[in-house]
Symmetry: none
Subunit: 161 residues, 2 copies
DNA sequence: AAATTAAAGGTCAATAAAAGTCAACAACGG
DNA sequence: CCGTTGTTGACTTTTATTGACCTTTAATTT
């Protein structure tokens, strides 16, 4: 039944907690949450993986064992969907290394990225390029596709964050 | 009460002592500390092992017998190269997702990374994991190797940058 | 000086209390 | 009907706490 979609319900519950808490950080007990929603504990992991991933601007920290916890951190609320759409448009289905680099320089100039953030992104792109070329023998075009996908994930996480 | 988190309380106490002391060094008596917090002495060893280990940026020295003591030293890096070496030591040849996440939390706590930088790094790691798992069918161990390599590249670039 | 004793701190293993992983199965949307 | 998304439970790993036993050092006694 789509009316009782557990994942959605739990997602909204957590989102609500995050909204209520001004600093964008909340702490959960996995077991308690599972009990509250009458589900198995690993369901909580599923919700976190699928809805509160870093690609969406969230960080999740946790500790096992006695006094364990799960902490969800929303990096910021000033996410304008405009910006995200803009980024998404900027990055086509495929993007070359040159285009990617130009885009990053541009974003840094516009203060969307710090120099350090640009650096990390470039290292991540280069690493994937390297692996695709030497380890997996991916075609140039497919590498452009993969580059676009990675870049989109990295940038949207940052724009959201 | 068993509901309170002893380890955390003791950790914060020691951290406070270190903050108050300008030279980043303090001396403890294990027995006194155990008495103050109403726990068994070996609990102190646990706190030191798990919270003031080198990977958290501390050194612990001690002496047994009469006039014994435990000294905690907060270490600082003179140069970038020292920092790079330290980071390199933290990342083994292979690293699991869990270990990687812990390391990143730790580095953020130590102000080596901003939250946004941690976010980008987590996205990059997740992306590679996802590709390795679903696109290229890489074995778990090999994914741990690749994760370590990527993490090393990303972190050293940042520390140097 | 050597032996003893007291006073530190260290190690390890058992136990309990979390959270994580994975794969099979179910339900849903196109 | 097929691929994706959600649900479940069995099994694993990590963390915290406690206590019994071990080692090292300094002071005291013989």
């Amino acid at each position: 039944m789509s009316s009782s979609n557990l994942t959605k319900v739990i997602e909204q519950y957590i989102a609500q907690l995050l909204e209520d808490n001004e600093d964008g950080t909340i702490s959960l007990r996995r077991k308690d949450l599972a009990e509250r929603f009458g589900c198995v504990p690993s369901q909580i992991n599923y919700v976190l993986r699928s809805r509160f991933a870093p690609e969406h601007g969230f960080l999740v920290e946790s500790q096992r064992g006695g006094h364990g916890y799960i902490r969800v951190i929303q990096l910021s609320f000033k996410s304008c969907d405009e910006k995200v759409d803009h980024i998404a448009e900027l990055i086509d289905n495929a993007i070359t290394e040159q285009e990617a680099r130009k885009l990053l320089v541009n974003l840094q100039n516009r203060k969307v990225l710090t120099p350090r953030e640009r650096l990390v992104i470039e290292v991540a792109l280069r690493n994937q390029e390297e692996n695709g070329r030497t380890l997996f023998d991916i075609s140039p075009y497919r590498r452009d596709l993969m580059r676009a996908e990675l870049l989109r994930k990295l940038l949207t996480s940052l724009v959201l964050g």
